[in-house]
Structure formats: C-alpha cells, structure tokens
Amino acid sequence: MAVVNQRIPFLAIVWLLLPVWGYCQELARDTVELDPVEVAAVPMRTYAYGQRIRSLDLSAAEGPSGGSVADLLQDRTGLFIRAYGPGMAASLSIRGTSAGHNALFWNGLPVNSPSLGQADYSIFPMAGMDQVDIHYGSAGALYGTDAIGGAVHLSTSLSRDQRRKSHVKTQLGSFGNWGQEISHQQRLQSISFRTSLYRNVLANRYPYTDWASPDTPIRYQDHAAVHQQGWVQDIRADLGKAQVLQASVWLGEIQREVQPVMGSSSRDVQNDTNLRAVLDYIKNGPKTTWNIKAGIVRDHMEFNSDVNLTLQALLAAAVDWEPSARWQSRSGVRYTRIQGDLSTYSHSEQRIELYQATNYKPLDNLAFSLQLRQLLHEGQPVPFTPGVGVSWTFGKSPVQQWELLGAASKGFKVPTLNDRYWVPGGNPDLASEQSWSKELGFNQQFTNKILQFSNRLSLFHMSVDNWIIWLPEESYWTPKNVRKVVSKGLEYFMEWELKQGGWDLGWEADYAWTHTSSRSVAAGNEMDLGKQLPYVPIHKLQVRGKVKNDRFSGFVSGQYTGERFVTSDNQTALPAYSLWGAGVSRTFSWKKWVSGSVALEVHNVWNTEYQLLRLRPMPGRNFQLTIHLEL
C-alpha cells in the first residue's frame, strides 16, 4: 500500500478535536433535561455550505416507488444510470465519474460493496426508504471513501407522532411485471415501529429488435426475470430526557437471470442477499447533539456457482456542538471492520476515521463550512482530506432571495478489496484514487402566495488522479494507478409551482452538461487522451410537469439523454434518445377507515427503441397500474 506522509494534517485533526473532548467532559457533569419535541441527529448536509444537495420529493414519485433507486435517479434527475437492463445491475455516474466514485449510504451506513467498491442501485427498492438526498461533487471530508463524484443518501424516517397506519400497495405492469408492498406502523407508548414487506417480480418479457440475427427479427426477452423480496423494520424508542434509540433492519433478496448482451446465449444467474442493520443513539442537549451509531452490512452474492461474501461492521460516534449562533461544529470518529470472503481470496482489514466539520456565520447572510477528515487504513494514513465552502445570500426580500455559493473539496477512494487481493492480479501496492473538486453555484428563489419558483446553477471542475484501471499483463490482468481525468460541467435545476383556485400546477427541469477529458492514460492508449469517458453523456435533460387538486393529480415527464461513447477512444457511440411518460392518479376514501389512490402511468409513450448500454435493449411502451390503500 502506498502511503503518503500526512503527519501535520493528522495532528491538525487531533488538535481540532481537543476542545470538543473538553466540552464533552463538561457536559457529563452538567446534565440538562429538555422537553422532547423531536429528537433527531444533525444531518451531515448541515456542514455543506456552498455545495449542492438535492432532496427528491418521493411523495410526488409514487409512480416509480415500486422500482428501485436506479429507476428513480434515471427518471427524476440529470444523473445517468448505467443499467444493463430493467432490474439488472445498475451503477451511477455523477459529474462524469465512474461507478465506484460515488458513495451510497442507507441511514448513514456506507453500503458500497467493499470488494467491488460500488453499489448496484437496482437492489435498493424504494420500499426501503422514505427519503433520497443527492450530494453533488467531491465530499470525501464529509463522507469518507468513494465520495469523489458525489454521494447518495437513502434514509428511513419514522415519525413519532404517528399512532397507527397501514399501507397496502399493488402494482401491475406490462411484460408480466408486478409488485406488492405492505407496511404497518404503530406506536405503543414511547416506542414506534414500522414493518414493511415487499415483493417485486419483473418477468421482463418485452419485445426487442434482435440486431444480432439476420433480418433483425423481433424477439421477446427470455432470460431477464427478476424476483425481489424483502423486509424493512424500523423501531424508535423515545427514552426521555431528549434521548432516542432508533434501529433499522433491511433484509433483502434479489434473484436475477442476467440479461445477456445481444448476440450471446449466456444463461448467467445472480442471487444477492443483503442484510443491513443500524442502531442509533441520539441525545439532544441545549447546544449539543450526540449520535452513537453501530451497524453492519452483509452482502452475499452468488454469481452462477461463485460465492462472494463481504461483511462491514461499523461503529461511529459524533457530537454536534453549537456554542453560539455563529459557530456550529461536528467532531466524529468512525471505525470500520471489513471482512471479505471472495471466490478467490479472503481478507479482513480495519479502518478508522477522524473527522471535523465546522460552520461559521460571521454575518446573517454569510456562512462558511470547513470539513477535515483523516482516514487510517490498516494503521496507515491515506491522504488528508479537507473541504471548504461558502454561501452568501443577497438581495433578500419577503418574496425573493439570491445566493452565491462556492466550494472546494478533496475526495478519495481506497482501492477495493478486489483491486488489491483478487487472485490472480490483485495489486496490494495501489495508491488511493484522489480528486480535487471546485464549484461555483448560484441560487434564486421567489415565493409569494400563488407562485413559487427557483433556479439553481452550478459550475464544476474536478480532477481525479491515480484512477485505477485493470490492464492485461503477462498472463493475467492487474489494476494500476494510471489514469488522470478532468471533468467539468454545468448543472441547472429549475422548479416552479403555481397555485390557482383549487389547483396546483408545477414544473421542474434538471439539466447536466458534463465534459470529461482523459489527461493521462496507460502506455499504448494515447488515442484516449483528451477524449470523453465511455458512457458519460455530455447532455442529459429531465423535465416534469404536474397538476394536482384535492382528488386528482397528473404528470407528464420527458427525458433526453445525449450521445454516449462506447469506448474510451470515442470511435463508437450510441445515439441520443428521448423518452416521454405520463400518469394520472385519483385519491378516494371509503367509510372512515379506508382511503387510497389509483394511478395509471405510461412510460416510453412513443415506443422509442433505445439502449443505455450497447446491445442491451430496453423496454418499449409500457403501462403500470398502482392501487394504494391506507387503513
């Protein structure tokens, strides 16, 4: 393992932590009781002034809620999901990065596979979360390894004031697809719990043009079935004295016939069983919030007969401290133990991270964030990771405000277990991948009684160095730190909402322009210099219009994905495509104890033939009926 001497920054972290330890000791002597309004941890986004974080409104996304996070991000954002077919393996690209350059969290637990270094976004059905937040740009100081292009946070949220509620949802779709979800939530004295069960079946018997056969016949997908089921359990116990204990467990299983690339007759199957469990103790004080977190992530993946098992155990503690209205601070430590039992090797390792995040607001309209993180990997420090951001609000009036934002941050990725230990070829001498990211942003918001609209523009520039690529050697492939990539671009998000009579009209657009350029490549790959990375669309636009009143709602959505190069020398490309969808929904109630909604959606209205990845056909026009009952 290449080690960089980072003694001074490491000491700086310790120095920054010292006053916090002192303050904590003082707290222990002086307990303060509070009226328990809503005890909650302080989200990490609090310390991200200057950076862009978007929370997706899942209530408006009831249509795709039977799908996965991959479907949600593809349909609702300017991000590009590289999916090998509906329900198949899907990875995320933020700001031109690769699949392993984005961190995924569930209730604060990092859930990227430590062996692959990335997450399969299709194995996270929407039934397992209440909220999705996207953090754009490098945020290694906030979140640790992998957050080079950004981070996605999935979280459950169990409201303490909800006495009792049950949901039943059934979805029927084209091509033999259906899904069911049942959840029940209840509160018994100070303990709230919610149990959710889901089952999704994608037969995926959709027609496609077989470009691999003479006369390009129409065939039906015959090896792409997906069976998914799972159980999500949330428990929250209000302990009094502004303390809460909350736990979430997610046991999920997904069995997939791996959709073969056109022209192949492969019949691979993959079964994933994933257990994620997290326990949080949170204590709110007048100026402090403690959060102690423990969690495990167990990923069992069986590809044909090869079994790969990884286990991550995490223990973390953080304290948020607000000594004055102008200062806000978080200090934390995170310990992770990783065990990997892969088909060709076994390895275990430990990581410990210290981090410090500080907000400073010298003026009411000016705020700074500073984030610092030092990760010790097997006792050796990986490069020290800082981040800084600023937000300046101006032109503020009762109806309008403007905001300028700026941020610079470093990100890193510890080489995956496979990168270092796969037999043959694993390279234990790999250095961590590193990134430097800068961005400028501009926000505008307008609100009056009938109209709200906002615009957000971000410009970014990111440089990723030591990018790991697997290259063929004498008799096997081995990973090396060879590539350097510069990514720059623009993100624009616009949203408006008009209230007129009993109607709400809304419109949103999310556009991303992403330009990447390989600045350093492996010997023999000089043709790749200056070229766009494969499967990074230069343009992606998503628009959505919606209308709603008490009983009725409807939407029209559109998506444009630009040309994607297939190879790193940009000699081959997939054409751009546009997809349109629409849906209507009507709510109803029967007696006093049943209410619900019926929704009908159509996707890919114009039956566009398209491929996200070359020779992997996607479904044409399809319909989905959703019945949702609340008891």
Partner: protein
C-alpha cells in the same frame, strides 16, 4: 429474311463459343482484395467486427459487416474461414455469420444450438463447427461438441458430435476431419460421412490449429515453455515428427501467421513486453528470437505479396486497438486504427 436468321444464329454460336473459351472476367469484390482485419471484440460488449485495409490507398475501412448489413455483428469473433464464395465469421458467443466474400452481405447464419463456437469447416454441403460447450462450475467444458449443419449457408444444427474437451482448429486430411482438442491434448479424427469420432491421437503441448507446409499437414501446439510443430501421417494421423522451439508464453488467439516459406511467426508474452518470434520449419530452429517487440500484441498476419507482417495491438482493452505494419527488416512501416482486440488478418 433467311440471311438475317442465319446471321443471328452465327452470332449466337459465336457468343456461345466465346463464352465457353473466354469466360467473362468478373470484377473482384471490394473485400476480395487488400487485408481483412479480424477484431475479436471485448468480453461483455460483443463488439467484434471486420475492418478492411486497402493496400493501394493505405486506407482502413471500419466495421464492414455493420455497413454491409445495417446491423452490428454483435459477437466476439473467434475465427474467420473462407470456403467457396462465402466467408464464415465464427463467434465464440455462440453463432456463425455467413457473408458473401465480395461485399460481406449476409447470406445466412447459424445462431441456434451453438454455445462457444471456435472454428469451422465446410465440406459436401455440410458445416462442421467446433464448440467448447457450456462451462461447468469449475470453468471446465466437459460437454464439448462438433455441430453439424446441413447447408453451406447456415440453418439449424442437425447433430452434435460429442468430442474431447475444448475443440479448436479443424482441417481435412484425406477424407477425414481432424480436430485439435485442447484439454486432453489430442487430435480427434472424424468421419464426415457418418459423423462419428473414429480415433484420437495424443500430442505434446496444447494443440490449436493445423497448417500445410511442403504438401504436409502440421499441427501447431504450445505450452508455457515451447512451441511444437507436429507433422502428421496422412494415413494414420499419428505424429510423424515433432519440432520443438523454445519460446515461452506464446499466445494463440484463433489466428496465426505462416509465411509460406516455412516460417511460423508467434507472439511471446514476456515480463515487460511482447516479442514477435520467427521459427523456421526448414531448420527446426528459432530463426529470429526478437523480430519485433512492443506492448499489447494480440494478433498476427503475414502478407506474402508484400512480405509485410501485420501485428494487432489491443491497447489494453481500454478502447479500440491498432494495427502495426512491419517490413521484412523488422522496421515499423506505419500504425493504423483498428477495432477492439485485433486478433487476426486474412489476405484474400
């Protein structure tokens, strides 16, 4: 009127005679000249393709299969064979595409019943296709077979002849088909009439393909230390003589270079580079241990007409590769763009 009729008959007779004695010379198709570059394609991407290099202009035309047929090849090309007016593109992703030699327009395919097809032989209205069969849980291929198709322009597989594991190259010797089977290091002898395996012959090294030299049939085989050239008895199919060349880590990618003047050209994967080595069948020795060297060498071809060696270079499989043209003195002439994993060359 009678004269006119007589003149017409004379004209017809003259035309018939002239046709019989001086056949009209049909122009050669665009792809019956120059060099065909076989680009294997990357695993999981199925982007194998054929490029065409025009010798006179020096231009490389990309993706001629897709251009001729308005669809991608969509497979990994293991081998290309030429029989009659057709070229047979054998994909190890389980299909054979059959195109006309002159314009590469598809005339048929075998795309049902194949799993991991490797090479092909055409005879007496039948196609014989070597196929590794499916992998088992230990990545072995215990159910390898030779697929028989009744028809030279494709169709369905009429029979699968069970054969020793991992059949690769095939050839005719006498009235029998010989198949090089890698796993058990043997030759299987097939009677094409009754479509049965008649005997097997053990050989040294892992056998890959057959070639002819001085009117004799040879088998190319290798192991980690040596390259073997086995000369075969045309009657018993046993190994008559074996020449052993000390070449480490030689690779075989479904295609090979043979100069016709008795020199085998192979690639040796060495620690930090790939080396092109020349072997002389005439002397049984390594004639040039280091004819040319570089990185990411994958395929070889030798153009007898121009005495030029073509090397396929895979660029680390990060994108498309290139073709290096090397003259008889071992100097680089030029480097041309190619497709993904250029693994072999065909000189019509």
């Amino acid at each position: 009127m009678k004269k006119v009729k007589l003149a017409f008959q004379k004209l017809i007779f003259t035309l018939l005679v002239s046709c019989a004695t001086e056949p009209v010379e049909m122009p050669r198709g665009a792809y019956e000249e120059g060099v065909l570059v076989i680009n294997e394609g990357a695993f999981g991407a199925n982007d194998g393709e054929i490029f065409h290099y025009e010798t006179e202009s020096g231009e490389m035309e990309s993706s001629i299969f897709e251009k001729a047929n308005a669809r991608p090849f969509a497979g990994l090309i293991q081998n290309m064979r030429s029989f009659g007016a057709n070229r047979y593109l054998v994909a190890n992703t389980g299909k054979v595409e059959i195109v006309r030699s002159d314009d590469f327009v598809s005339v048929g395919a075998v795309n049902e019943g194949l799993i991991n097809s490797r090479s092909l032989l055409a005879t007496d209205g039948k196609l014989f296709i070597s196929d590794w069969g499916a992998y088992d849980e230990n990545w072995n291929n215990p159910e390898s077979f030779i697929a028989v198709v009744n028809g030279l322009e494709g169709g369905s597989v009429s029979k699968k002849i069970a054969i020793s594991s991992r059949p690769e190259g095939m050839t005719f010797l006498g009235d029998r088909i010989l198949v090089a089977c890698q796993q058990e290091q043997l030759i299987s002898v097939i009677n094409p009439e009754n479509e049965t395996v008649e005997k097997t012959v053990s050989v040294s090294g892992t056998p890959f393909y057959f070639f002819n030299y001085a009117n004799r049939t040879y088998l190319y085989a290798n192991d980690a230390e040596n390259v073997y050239a086995h000369r075969l008895d045309p009657v018993t199919f046993e190994v008559e003589e074996t020449q052993t060349f000390g070449v480490v880590n030689s690779i075989y990618n479904g295609n090979f270079a043979f100069t016709g003047s008795g020199e085998l050209v192979v690639i040796s994967n060495q620690a930090d580079e790939d080396v092109v080595v020349k072997l002389s069948l005439g002397t049984g020795t390594v004639s040039e241990a280091r004819f040319y060297s570089g990185k990411n060498f994958y395929g070889l071809g030798y153009d007898e007409a121009t005495q030029t060696l073509f090397i396929g270079e895979h660029a680390g499989w990060q994108g498309n590769g290139s073709v290096l043209r090397i003259n008889s003195a071992g100097a680089l002439i030029d480097q041309l763009p190619a497709g993904r994993g250029p693994s072999g060359f065909y000189f019509p």
